[in-house]
Amino acid sequence: MSEYILEIKHVSKYFHGLVAINDLSMKVKKGQIYGIIGPNGAGKTTLFNCITGIYTPEEGQILWKGKEIKGTTPFKIAELGILRTFQTIRLFAEMSVAENIMSGRHIKSKQKWYNGIIHTPAYYKDEKENWEKVGELMDFFNLSEYATIPAGDLSYGIQRRIEMARALAAEPELLILDEPAAGLNENETLELTQTILKIQAMGVTIMMIEHDMEMVMSLTEYITVINFGARISAGLPAFVQDDPVVVEAYIGSDEEDEHE
Protein backbone atom coordinates (compact mmCIF):
# COMPACT_ATOMS: atom_id res chain seq x y z
CA MET A 1 0.00 0.00 0.00
CA SER A 2 1.27 3.40 -0.92
CA GLU A 3 1.84 6.21 1.53
CA TYR A 4 -0.89 8.20 -0.16
CA ILE A 5 -4.38 7.93 1.26
CA LEU A 6 -6.02 9.64 -1.71
CA GLU A 7 -4.75 9.70 -5.27
CA ILE A 8 -6.39 11.61 -8.06
CA LYS A 9 -5.15 10.53 -11.46
CA HIS A 10 -5.86 12.42 -14.66
CA VAL A 11 -9.42 13.29 -13.68
CA SER A 12 -11.56 15.25 -16.13
CA LYS A 13 -15.15 16.39 -15.63
CA TYR A 14 -17.34 18.03 -18.26
CA PHE A 15 -20.62 19.90 -18.03
CA HIS A 16 -22.57 20.02 -21.29
CA GLY A 17 -19.32 19.57 -23.18
CA LEU A 18 -17.49 22.32 -21.28
CA VAL A 19 -14.51 21.20 -19.32
CA ALA A 20 -14.75 21.89 -15.59
CA ILE A 21 -11.78 19.81 -14.53
CA ASN A 22 -9.05 19.06 -17.00
CA ASP A 23 -6.67 16.13 -16.50
CA LEU A 24 -6.13 16.88 -12.85
CA SER A 25 -3.81 14.77 -10.68
CA MET A 26 -2.80 15.03 -7.05
CA LYS A 27 -1.77 12.83 -4.16
CA VAL A 28 -2.65 13.36 -0.53
CA LYS A 29 -0.55 11.81 2.23
CA LYS A 30 -2.10 10.43 5.37
CA GLY A 31 -2.17 13.00 8.16
CA GLN A 32 -1.46 15.90 5.85
CA ILE A 33 -3.23 19.22 5.58
CA TYR A 34 -3.55 19.63 1.84
CA GLY A 35 -4.49 22.96 0.31
CA ILE A 36 -6.24 23.64 -2.95
CA ILE A 37 -6.28 27.21 -4.16
CA GLY A 38 -7.15 28.96 -7.35
CA PRO A 39 -9.30 31.78 -8.68
CA ASN A 40 -13.08 31.60 -8.48
CA GLY A 41 -14.55 29.26 -11.04
CA ALA A 42 -11.35 27.26 -11.35
CA GLY A 43 -13.08 23.96 -10.55
CA LYS A 44 -12.06 23.48 -6.93
CA THR A 45 -15.50 22.69 -5.57
CA THR A 46 -16.19 20.53 -8.61
CA LEU A 47 -13.14 18.50 -7.66
CA PHE A 48 -14.50 18.05 -4.12
CA ASN A 49 -17.85 17.03 -5.57
CA CYS A 50 -16.06 14.42 -7.68
CA ILE A 51 -14.21 13.02 -4.68
CA THR A 52 -17.36 12.85 -2.54
CA GLY A 53 -19.39 11.18 -5.26
CA ILE A 54 -21.83 13.97 -6.00
CA TYR A 55 -20.40 14.12 -9.52
CA THR A 56 -18.84 11.27 -11.46
CA PRO A 57 -15.88 12.42 -13.53
CA GLU A 58 -15.83 11.22 -17.14
CA GLU A 59 -12.15 10.40 -17.16
CA GLY A 60 -9.43 9.40 -14.77
CA GLN A 61 -9.22 7.58 -11.47
CA ILE A 62 -9.86 8.50 -7.87
CA LEU A 63 -8.13 6.08 -5.55
CA TRP A 64 -8.90 5.86 -1.85
CA LYS A 65 -6.26 3.80 -0.11
CA GLY A 66 -5.43 2.32 -3.49
CA LYS A 67 -9.01 1.41 -4.38
CA GLU A 68 -11.02 3.07 -7.15
CA ILE A 69 -13.94 5.08 -5.73
CA LYS A 70 -14.96 6.98 -8.84
CA GLY A 71 -18.72 6.66 -9.39
CA THR A 72 -19.41 5.48 -5.85
CA THR A 73 -22.56 7.05 -4.38
CA PRO A 74 -22.05 9.86 -1.85
CA PHE A 75 -23.35 7.93 1.14
CA LYS A 76 -20.89 5.09 0.51
CA ILE A 77 -18.05 7.59 0.20
CA ALA A 78 -19.01 8.87 3.65
CA GLU A 79 -19.06 5.31 4.97
CA LEU A 80 -15.50 4.91 3.67
CA GLY A 81 -14.45 7.76 5.97
CA ILE A 82 -14.48 10.76 3.65
CA LEU A 83 -16.59 13.56 5.12
CA ARG A 84 -17.03 17.12 3.98
CA THR A 85 -18.34 20.58 4.67
CA PHE A 86 -19.98 22.81 2.09
CA GLN A 87 -18.97 26.16 0.67
CA THR A 88 -22.59 27.25 0.88
CA ILE A 89 -23.44 25.96 4.33
CA ARG A 90 -25.87 23.07 4.19
CA LEU A 91 -27.22 22.44 7.65
CA PHE A 92 -30.61 21.02 8.57
CA ALA A 93 -31.75 24.54 9.34
CA GLU A 94 -34.92 23.84 11.33
CA MET A 95 -33.30 21.13 13.46
CA SER A 96 -31.36 21.83 16.63
CA VAL A 97 -27.58 22.05 16.74
CA ALA A 98 -27.35 18.75 18.63
CA GLU A 99 -29.55 16.97 16.10
CA ASN A 100 -27.45 18.37 13.27
CA ILE A 101 -24.28 16.98 14.80
CA MET A 102 -26.05 13.70 15.51
CA SER A 103 -26.44 13.21 11.75
CA GLY A 104 -22.70 12.68 11.65
CA ARG A 105 -23.12 9.76 14.05
CA HIS A 106 -25.39 8.01 11.59
CA ILE A 107 -22.74 5.76 10.09
CA LYS A 108 -21.30 4.96 13.51
CA SER A 109 -24.63 4.04 15.04
CA LYS A 110 -25.19 0.29 15.31
CA GLN A 111 -28.96 0.36 15.55
CA LYS A 112 -30.73 -2.46 13.73
CA TRP A 113 -33.63 -2.02 11.31
CA TYR A 114 -36.19 -2.98 13.97
CA ASN A 115 -34.95 -0.28 16.35
CA GLY A 116 -37.00 2.21 14.37
CA ILE A 117 -40.06 0.36 15.66
CA ILE A 118 -39.06 -1.14 18.96
CA HIS A 119 -36.20 -0.32 21.30
CA THR A 120 -33.85 -2.89 22.79
CA PRO A 121 -31.16 -2.66 25.48
CA ALA A 122 -28.54 -2.53 22.71
CA TYR A 123 -30.42 0.43 21.23
CA TYR A 124 -30.36 2.37 24.49
CA LYS A 125 -26.64 1.79 24.87
CA ASP A 126 -25.95 2.84 21.28
CA GLU A 127 -28.20 5.88 21.49
CA LYS A 128 -26.57 7.06 24.71
CA GLU A 129 -23.05 6.61 23.35
CA ASN A 130 -23.84 8.59 20.23
CA TRP A 131 -25.45 11.47 22.08
CA GLU A 132 -22.45 11.53 24.43
CA LYS A 133 -20.20 11.82 21.42
CA VAL A 134 -22.35 14.70 20.22
CA GLY A 135 -21.88 16.29 23.63
CA GLU A 136 -18.10 15.94 23.36
CA LEU A 137 -18.11 17.56 19.94
CA MET A 138 -20.28 20.42 21.14
CA ASP A 139 -17.77 21.00 23.92
CA PHE A 140 -14.87 20.82 21.48
CA PHE A 141 -16.46 23.38 19.14
CA ASN A 142 -17.92 25.54 21.95
CA LEU A 143 -21.45 24.84 20.81
CA SER A 144 -22.97 23.45 24.03
CA GLU A 145 -24.91 26.59 24.81
CA TYR A 146 -26.73 26.34 21.47
CA ALA A 147 -27.58 22.63 21.76
CA THR A 148 -31.36 23.07 21.40
CA ILE A 149 -31.38 26.06 19.05
CA PRO A 150 -32.32 25.57 15.38
CA ALA A 151 -29.07 25.66 13.40
CA GLY A 152 -30.53 28.05 10.85
CA ASP A 153 -31.10 30.72 13.51
CA LEU A 154 -27.41 31.02 14.40
CA SER A 155 -24.71 33.27 12.99
CA TYR A 156 -22.56 32.36 10.04
CA GLY A 157 -19.45 31.66 12.10
CA ILE A 158 -21.34 29.34 14.43
CA GLN A 159 -22.95 27.55 11.50
CA ARG A 160 -19.51 26.84 10.03
CA ARG A 161 -18.50 25.31 13.37
CA ILE A 162 -21.64 23.14 13.41
CA GLU A 163 -20.83 21.88 9.93
CA MET A 164 -17.32 20.89 10.98
CA ALA A 165 -18.63 19.26 14.15
CA ARG A 166 -21.16 17.33 12.09
CA ALA A 167 -18.51 16.05 9.70
CA LEU A 168 -16.14 15.22 12.54
CA ALA A 169 -18.87 13.32 14.38
CA ALA A 170 -18.56 10.63 11.71
CA GLU A 171 -14.93 10.12 12.77
CA PRO A 172 -13.59 10.67 9.26
CA GLU A 173 -10.18 9.68 8.02
CA LEU A 174 -10.29 12.44 5.44
CA LEU A 175 -12.03 15.72 6.20
CA ILE A 176 -12.77 17.90 3.21
CA LEU A 177 -13.30 21.57 4.03
CA ASP A 178 -14.71 23.83 1.34
CA GLU A 179 -13.75 27.42 2.22
CA PRO A 180 -14.07 26.99 5.99
CA ALA A 181 -13.01 30.59 6.68
CA ALA A 182 -15.38 32.26 4.23
CA GLY A 183 -17.41 34.90 6.02
CA LEU A 184 -15.53 34.58 9.29
CA ASN A 185 -14.00 37.57 11.08
CA GLU A 186 -10.35 37.71 12.08
CA ASN A 187 -10.84 36.23 15.54
CA GLU A 188 -12.99 33.43 14.22
CA THR A 189 -10.41 32.65 11.52
CA LEU A 190 -7.68 32.43 14.14
CA GLU A 191 -9.83 30.14 16.23
CA LEU A 192 -10.55 28.04 13.14
CA THR A 193 -6.83 27.66 12.42
CA GLN A 194 -6.29 26.31 15.94
CA THR A 195 -9.26 23.97 15.55
CA ILE A 196 -7.98 22.58 12.26
CA LEU A 197 -4.60 21.89 13.81
CA LYS A 198 -6.29 20.07 16.68
CA ILE A 199 -8.26 17.98 14.24
CA GLN A 200 -5.06 17.11 12.42
CA ALA A 201 -3.53 16.10 15.73
CA MET A 202 -6.34 13.54 16.12
CA GLY A 203 -4.91 11.84 13.03
CA VAL A 204 -7.40 13.16 10.51
CA THR A 205 -6.16 13.98 7.03
CA ILE A 206 -7.51 17.32 5.82
CA MET A 207 -8.08 18.73 2.35
CA MET A 208 -9.17 22.32 2.14
CA ILE A 209 -10.13 24.95 -0.37
CA GLU A 210 -9.48 28.38 1.04
CA HIS A 211 -9.11 31.92 -0.22
CA ASP A 212 -7.60 33.30 2.97
CA MET A 213 -3.96 33.09 1.86
CA GLU A 214 -2.53 33.78 5.25
CA MET A 215 -4.40 30.85 6.68
CA VAL A 216 -3.56 28.54 3.78
CA MET A 217 0.11 29.37 3.95
CA SER A 218 0.32 28.83 7.69
CA LEU A 219 -1.71 25.61 7.80
CA THR A 220 -1.10 23.53 4.73
CA GLU A 221 1.83 21.28 4.04
CA TYR A 222 1.28 20.96 0.33
CA ILE A 223 -0.72 23.03 -2.15
CA THR A 224 -2.13 22.45 -5.61
CA VAL A 225 -3.13 25.52 -7.59
CA ILE A 226 -5.95 25.11 -10.09
CA ASN A 227 -7.03 27.44 -12.86
CA PHE A 228 -9.54 26.67 -15.60
CA GLY A 229 -9.86 23.16 -14.20
CA ALA A 230 -6.21 22.29 -14.63
CA ARG A 231 -3.25 22.24 -12.29
CA ILE A 232 -1.00 25.20 -12.90
CA SER A 233 1.31 24.76 -9.98
CA ALA A 234 1.90 22.51 -7.00
CA GLY A 235 4.34 22.32 -4.15
CA LEU A 236 5.15 23.58 -0.71
CA PRO A 237 3.36 26.77 0.33
CA ALA A 238 6.51 28.87 0.06
CA PHE A 239 7.16 27.67 -3.47
CA VAL A 240 3.61 28.14 -4.70
CA GLN A 241 3.38 31.60 -3.21
CA ASP A 242 6.24 32.87 -5.35
CA ASP A 243 5.45 30.90 -8.49
CA PRO A 244 5.00 33.50 -11.26
CA VAL A 245 2.30 31.34 -12.92
CA VAL A 246 0.22 31.53 -9.76
CA VAL A 247 0.68 35.26 -9.36
CA GLU A 248 -0.34 35.71 -12.98
CA ALA A 249 -3.45 33.55 -12.56
CA TYR A 250 -4.63 35.56 -9.58
CA ILE A 251 -3.98 38.96 -11.08
CA GLY A 252 -5.40 37.95 -14.45
CA SER A 253 -8.58 36.65 -12.93
CA ASP A 254 -9.72 39.62 -10.89
CA GLU A 255 -12.66 40.12 -13.17
CA GLU A 256 -13.88 36.54 -12.91
CA ASP A 257 -17.27 35.86 -11.52
CA GLU A 258 -18.09 33.42 -8.79
CA HIS A 259 -19.25 30.38 -10.66
CA GLU A 260 -19.05 27.21 -8.70
Binding site: T45, N49, I54, F86, T88
Partner: protein, 300 residues
Amino acid sequence: MDIFLQQIVNGLTIGSLYALVALGYTMVYGVMRLINFAHGDLVALSAFVGLTVYTQIFGEGITSLVAVIAVFMFTAAIIAVVGVLLERLAYRPLRTAPRLSAVVSALGAGLVIQNAVMLIWGPNMKIFPSEIFPSTIWEIGGIVVTFTQVMILGISAMLMVTLFFFINRTKMGTAIRAVAIDQDAAKLMGINVNRIIMVIFIIGSALGAVAGLFIGAYYRGITFDMGWMYGLNAFVAAIMGGIGNIPGAMLGGLLLGLFNAMITGYISSQWAETFTFILLIVILVFRPTGILGETVAEKV
Protein backbone atom coordinates in the same frame (compact mmCIF):
# COMPACT_ATOMS: atom_id res chain seq x y z
CA MET B 1 -57.20 -0.50 -40.25
CA ASP B 2 -60.34 1.64 -40.17
CA ILE B 3 -60.52 1.39 -36.42
CA PHE B 4 -56.90 2.36 -36.25
CA LEU B 5 -57.31 5.51 -38.34
CA GLN B 6 -60.57 6.39 -36.63
CA GLN B 7 -58.93 6.08 -33.25
CA ILE B 8 -56.09 8.31 -34.45
CA VAL B 9 -58.60 11.04 -35.29
CA ASN B 10 -60.38 10.57 -31.98
CA GLY B 11 -57.07 10.39 -30.12
CA LEU B 12 -55.77 13.59 -31.67
CA THR B 13 -59.02 15.33 -30.73
CA ILE B 14 -58.95 14.35 -27.09
CA GLY B 15 -55.18 14.79 -27.10
CA SER B 16 -55.56 18.39 -28.22
CA LEU B 17 -57.92 19.01 -25.33
CA TYR B 18 -55.47 17.42 -22.89
CA ALA B 19 -52.71 19.53 -24.37
CA LEU B 20 -54.67 22.77 -23.90
CA VAL B 21 -55.35 21.93 -20.28
CA ALA B 22 -51.82 20.61 -19.74
CA LEU B 23 -50.41 23.94 -20.89
CA GLY B 24 -52.15 25.62 -17.95
CA TYR B 25 -50.56 23.18 -15.51
CA THR B 26 -47.14 23.38 -17.04
CA MET B 27 -46.96 27.17 -17.35
CA VAL B 28 -47.94 27.68 -13.72
CA TYR B 29 -45.53 24.98 -12.66
CA GLY B 30 -42.72 26.44 -14.73
CA VAL B 31 -42.97 29.79 -13.01
CA MET B 32 -44.20 28.90 -9.52
CA ARG B 33 -43.17 25.25 -9.02
CA LEU B 34 -46.77 24.65 -8.00
CA ILE B 35 -49.17 21.94 -9.13
CA ASN B 36 -52.32 24.00 -9.63
CA PHE B 37 -54.77 21.34 -8.55
CA ALA B 38 -57.67 23.77 -9.09
CA HIS B 39 -56.96 24.01 -12.81
CA GLY B 40 -59.12 21.02 -13.75
CA ASP B 41 -62.04 22.55 -11.88
CA LEU B 42 -61.57 25.79 -13.81
CA VAL B 43 -62.01 23.74 -16.97
CA ALA B 44 -65.27 22.32 -15.65
CA LEU B 45 -66.39 25.78 -14.53
CA SER B 46 -65.76 27.02 -18.05
CA ALA B 47 -68.13 24.48 -19.56
CA PHE B 48 -70.91 25.63 -17.21
CA VAL B 49 -70.22 29.31 -17.68
CA GLY B 50 -70.20 28.75 -21.42
CA LEU B 51 -73.53 26.97 -21.17
CA THR B 52 -75.09 29.86 -19.30
CA VAL B 53 -73.55 32.50 -21.51
CA TYR B 54 -74.83 30.68 -24.57
CA THR B 55 -78.39 30.01 -23.41
CA GLN B 56 -79.03 33.09 -21.28
CA ILE B 57 -77.29 35.81 -23.19
CA PHE B 58 -77.46 34.73 -26.76
CA GLY B 59 -80.54 32.59 -26.53
CA GLU B 60 -80.79 29.03 -27.64
CA GLY B 61 -80.60 27.95 -31.22
CA ILE B 62 -78.19 30.59 -32.40
CA THR B 63 -75.51 29.12 -34.63
CA SER B 64 -74.08 32.24 -36.12
CA LEU B 65 -70.30 32.22 -36.12
CA VAL B 66 -70.21 35.59 -34.40
CA ALA B 67 -72.26 34.36 -31.48
CA VAL B 68 -70.13 31.25 -31.04
CA ILE B 69 -66.94 33.28 -31.12
CA ALA B 70 -68.50 35.69 -28.63
CA VAL B 71 -69.34 32.79 -26.28
CA PHE B 72 -65.77 31.55 -26.46
CA MET B 73 -64.22 34.98 -25.90
CA PHE B 74 -66.60 35.92 -23.12
CA THR B 75 -66.22 32.63 -21.27
CA ALA B 76 -62.44 32.63 -21.64
CA ALA B 77 -62.37 36.16 -20.23
CA ILE B 78 -64.46 35.17 -17.22
CA ILE B 79 -62.32 32.10 -16.51
CA ALA B 80 -59.15 34.17 -16.91
CA VAL B 81 -60.45 36.56 -14.26
CA VAL B 82 -61.25 33.63 -11.97
CA GLY B 83 -57.74 32.29 -12.59
CA VAL B 84 -56.16 35.61 -11.68
CA LEU B 85 -58.30 35.86 -8.54
CA LEU B 86 -57.31 32.32 -7.64
CA GLU B 87 -53.65 33.25 -7.80
CA ARG B 88 -54.14 36.47 -5.84
CA LEU B 89 -56.19 34.93 -3.05
CA ALA B 90 -54.96 31.37 -2.72
CA TYR B 91 -51.40 31.23 -4.04
CA ARG B 92 -49.71 34.61 -3.71
CA PRO B 93 -49.88 34.64 0.10
CA LEU B 94 -48.07 31.29 0.06
CA ARG B 95 -45.26 32.09 -2.32
CA THR B 96 -42.60 31.91 0.35
CA ALA B 97 -44.29 29.16 2.37
CA PRO B 98 -43.24 25.49 2.21
CA ARG B 99 -44.12 24.12 -1.23
CA LEU B 100 -46.73 21.67 0.01
CA SER B 101 -48.74 24.39 1.75
CA ALA B 102 -49.53 25.87 -1.64
CA VAL B 103 -50.50 22.40 -2.86
CA VAL B 104 -53.05 22.11 -0.04
CA SER B 105 -54.30 25.58 -0.83
CA ALA B 106 -54.72 24.52 -4.46
CA LEU B 107 -56.63 21.41 -3.39
CA GLY B 108 -58.85 23.64 -1.24
CA ALA B 109 -59.41 26.04 -4.12
CA GLY B 110 -60.40 23.11 -6.31
CA LEU B 111 -62.99 22.05 -3.73
CA VAL B 112 -64.35 25.60 -3.59
CA ILE B 113 -64.75 25.90 -7.36
CA GLN B 114 -66.20 22.42 -7.73
CA ASN B 115 -68.77 22.91 -5.01
CA ALA B 116 -69.61 26.40 -6.17
CA VAL B 117 -70.42 24.90 -9.57
CA MET B 118 -72.57 22.29 -7.85
CA LEU B 119 -74.44 24.90 -5.81
CA ILE B 120 -75.03 27.17 -8.81
CA TRP B 121 -75.79 24.66 -11.55
CA GLY B 122 -76.92 21.72 -9.48
CA PRO B 123 -75.49 18.25 -8.92
CA ASN B 124 -77.01 16.65 -12.03
CA MET B 125 -75.50 16.33 -15.46
CA LYS B 126 -76.22 19.22 -17.80
CA ILE B 127 -76.40 18.88 -21.55
CA PHE B 128 -74.34 21.24 -23.60
CA PRO B 129 -76.27 22.69 -26.58
CA SER B 130 -75.68 20.60 -29.66
CA GLU B 131 -76.22 23.40 -32.12
CA ILE B 132 -73.19 25.38 -31.06
CA PHE B 133 -71.31 23.78 -33.94
CA PRO B 134 -72.95 22.51 -37.14
CA SER B 135 -73.57 18.78 -37.06
CA THR B 136 -71.75 18.28 -40.35
CA ILE B 137 -70.00 14.94 -40.67
CA TRP B 138 -67.40 13.95 -43.19
CA GLU B 139 -66.68 10.40 -44.17
CA ILE B 140 -63.27 9.85 -45.63
CA GLY B 141 -62.46 6.29 -46.53
CA GLY B 142 -64.53 4.82 -43.73
CA ILE B 143 -63.36 7.28 -41.12
CA VAL B 144 -65.88 9.65 -39.57
CA VAL B 145 -64.74 13.17 -38.79
CA THR B 146 -67.16 15.62 -37.20
CA PHE B 147 -67.20 19.37 -37.57
CA THR B 148 -66.57 19.68 -33.84
CA GLN B 149 -63.46 17.53 -34.16
CA VAL B 150 -62.14 19.67 -36.96
CA MET B 151 -62.79 22.78 -34.88
CA ILE B 152 -61.03 21.27 -31.86
CA LEU B 153 -58.02 20.20 -33.90
CA GLY B 154 -57.82 23.46 -35.84
CA ILE B 155 -58.34 25.90 -32.97
CA SER B 156 -56.07 23.96 -30.60
CA ALA B 157 -53.29 23.83 -33.17
CA MET B 158 -53.70 27.54 -33.84
CA LEU B 159 -53.63 28.40 -30.13
CA MET B 160 -50.59 26.25 -29.51
CA VAL B 161 -48.64 27.69 -32.41
CA THR B 162 -49.55 31.19 -31.27
CA LEU B 163 -48.46 30.39 -27.73
CA PHE B 164 -45.21 28.92 -28.98
CA PHE B 165 -44.37 32.09 -30.87
CA PHE B 166 -45.54 34.27 -28.02
CA ILE B 167 -43.23 32.49 -25.59
CA ASN B 168 -40.24 32.31 -27.92
CA ARG B 169 -40.47 35.45 -30.01
CA THR B 170 -41.96 38.27 -27.94
CA LYS B 171 -40.55 40.42 -25.19
CA MET B 172 -43.22 39.24 -22.76
CA GLY B 173 -42.45 35.63 -23.68
CA THR B 174 -38.77 36.18 -22.97
CA ALA B 175 -39.69 37.67 -19.60
CA ILE B 176 -41.83 34.62 -18.84
CA ARG B 177 -38.94 32.32 -19.66
CA ALA B 178 -36.61 34.42 -17.54
CA VAL B 179 -38.93 34.24 -14.54
CA ALA B 180 -39.24 30.48 -15.01
CA ILE B 181 -35.48 30.07 -14.83
CA ASP B 182 -34.71 32.39 -11.94
CA GLN B 183 -37.30 34.60 -10.30
CA ASP B 184 -34.83 36.59 -8.21
CA ALA B 185 -32.51 37.31 -11.09
CA ALA B 186 -35.49 38.29 -13.26
CA LYS B 187 -36.63 40.67 -10.54
CA LEU B 188 -33.18 42.27 -10.45
CA MET B 189 -33.36 42.75 -14.23
CA GLY B 190 -36.45 44.85 -13.72
CA ILE B 191 -39.05 42.25 -14.63
CA ASN B 192 -42.28 42.62 -12.70
CA VAL B 193 -42.68 39.04 -11.48
CA ASN B 194 -46.22 39.56 -10.19
CA ARG B 195 -47.29 40.80 -13.57
CA ILE B 196 -45.70 37.81 -15.31
CA ILE B 197 -47.47 35.43 -12.97
CA MET B 198 -50.74 37.23 -13.71
CA VAL B 199 -50.14 36.83 -17.44
CA ILE B 200 -49.41 33.13 -16.91
CA PHE B 201 -52.69 32.66 -15.08
CA ILE B 202 -54.60 34.59 -17.74
CA ILE B 203 -53.17 32.50 -20.57
CA GLY B 204 -53.38 29.20 -18.73
CA SER B 205 -56.95 29.76 -17.56
CA ALA B 206 -58.11 31.01 -20.96
CA LEU B 207 -56.64 27.93 -22.68
CA GLY B 208 -58.32 25.76 -20.07
CA ALA B 209 -61.56 27.62 -20.70
CA VAL B 210 -61.40 26.92 -24.42
CA ALA B 211 -60.75 23.26 -23.60
CA GLY B 212 -63.74 23.25 -21.24
CA LEU B 213 -66.05 24.61 -23.93
CA PHE B 214 -64.75 22.08 -26.43
CA ILE B 215 -65.29 19.28 -23.90
CA GLY B 216 -68.89 20.46 -23.60
CA ALA B 217 -69.35 20.63 -27.35
CA TYR B 218 -67.65 17.27 -27.97
CA TYR B 219 -68.98 15.10 -25.15
CA ARG B 220 -72.21 17.06 -24.54
CA GLY B 221 -72.75 15.87 -20.96
CA ILE B 222 -71.07 18.06 -18.35
CA THR B 223 -70.95 17.48 -14.60
CA PHE B 224 -69.67 19.64 -11.76
CA ASP B 225 -67.00 17.09 -10.82
CA MET B 226 -65.70 16.32 -14.31
CA GLY B 227 -62.76 18.68 -13.80
CA TRP B 228 -61.00 16.09 -11.71
CA MET B 229 -60.86 13.51 -14.51
CA TYR B 230 -59.85 15.92 -17.28
CA GLY B 231 -57.50 17.73 -14.95
CA LEU B 232 -55.80 14.53 -13.91
CA ASN B 233 -55.31 13.34 -17.48
CA ALA B 234 -53.97 16.70 -18.53
CA PHE B 235 -51.71 16.82 -15.51
CA VAL B 236 -50.39 13.37 -16.38
CA ALA B 237 -49.80 14.62 -19.92
CA ALA B 238 -47.83 17.59 -18.57
CA ILE B 239 -45.74 15.28 -16.38
CA MET B 240 -45.12 12.90 -19.28
CA GLY B 241 -43.85 15.72 -21.44
CA GLY B 242 -41.78 17.11 -18.59
CA ILE B 243 -43.63 19.53 -16.37
CA GLY B 244 -42.62 23.15 -16.81
CA ASN B 245 -41.83 22.52 -20.47
CA ILE B 246 -44.34 24.04 -22.91
CA PRO B 247 -43.66 21.87 -25.99
CA GLY B 248 -43.57 18.96 -23.54
CA ALA B 249 -47.16 19.65 -22.49
CA MET B 250 -48.28 19.74 -26.12
CA LEU B 251 -46.43 16.53 -26.92
CA GLY B 252 -47.61 14.83 -23.72
CA GLY B 253 -51.22 15.79 -24.41
CA LEU B 254 -51.24 14.43 -27.94
CA LEU B 255 -49.34 11.31 -26.94
CA LEU B 256 -51.72 10.57 -24.08
CA GLY B 257 -54.77 11.26 -26.26
CA LEU B 258 -53.57 8.84 -28.91
CA PHE B 259 -52.57 6.23 -26.38
CA ASN B 260 -55.95 6.50 -24.63
CA ALA B 261 -57.79 6.15 -27.92
CA MET B 262 -55.82 3.04 -28.84
CA ILE B 263 -56.46 1.43 -25.46
CA THR B 264 -60.17 2.25 -25.68
CA GLY B 265 -60.32 1.06 -29.26
CA TYR B 266 -58.41 -2.18 -28.92
CA ILE B 267 -58.54 -3.22 -25.27
CA SER B 268 -61.22 -1.74 -23.05
CA SER B 269 -62.20 1.64 -21.68
CA GLN B 270 -62.52 0.02 -18.27
CA TRP B 271 -58.77 -0.15 -18.08
CA ALA B 272 -57.97 3.18 -19.73
CA GLU B 273 -56.62 4.86 -16.61
CA THR B 274 -54.60 1.83 -15.58
CA PHE B 275 -52.83 1.86 -18.91
CA THR B 276 -52.40 5.63 -18.75
CA PHE B 277 -50.56 5.35 -15.48
CA ILE B 278 -48.57 2.32 -16.51
CA LEU B 279 -47.35 4.34 -19.50
CA LEU B 280 -46.57 7.28 -17.24
CA ILE B 281 -44.65 5.20 -14.73
CA VAL B 282 -42.69 3.44 -17.46
CA ILE B 283 -41.77 6.80 -18.98
CA LEU B 284 -40.71 8.14 -15.58
CA VAL B 285 -38.64 5.09 -14.74
CA PHE B 286 -36.59 5.66 -17.88
CA ARG B 287 -36.83 9.44 -18.03
CA PRO B 288 -37.31 10.66 -14.45
CA THR B 289 -38.20 14.20 -15.55
CA GLY B 290 -40.44 13.36 -18.48
CA ILE B 291 -39.80 13.16 -22.21
CA LEU B 292 -38.64 16.73 -22.79
CA GLY B 293 -37.95 17.70 -19.19
CA GLU B 294 -34.42 18.62 -18.29
CA THR B 295 -32.65 17.34 -15.25
CA VAL B 296 -31.57 20.38 -13.34
CA ALA B 297 -28.65 19.46 -11.14
CA GLU B 298 -28.80 21.07 -7.76
CA LYS B 299 -25.94 23.48 -7.06
CA VAL B 300 -23.65 22.16 -4.40
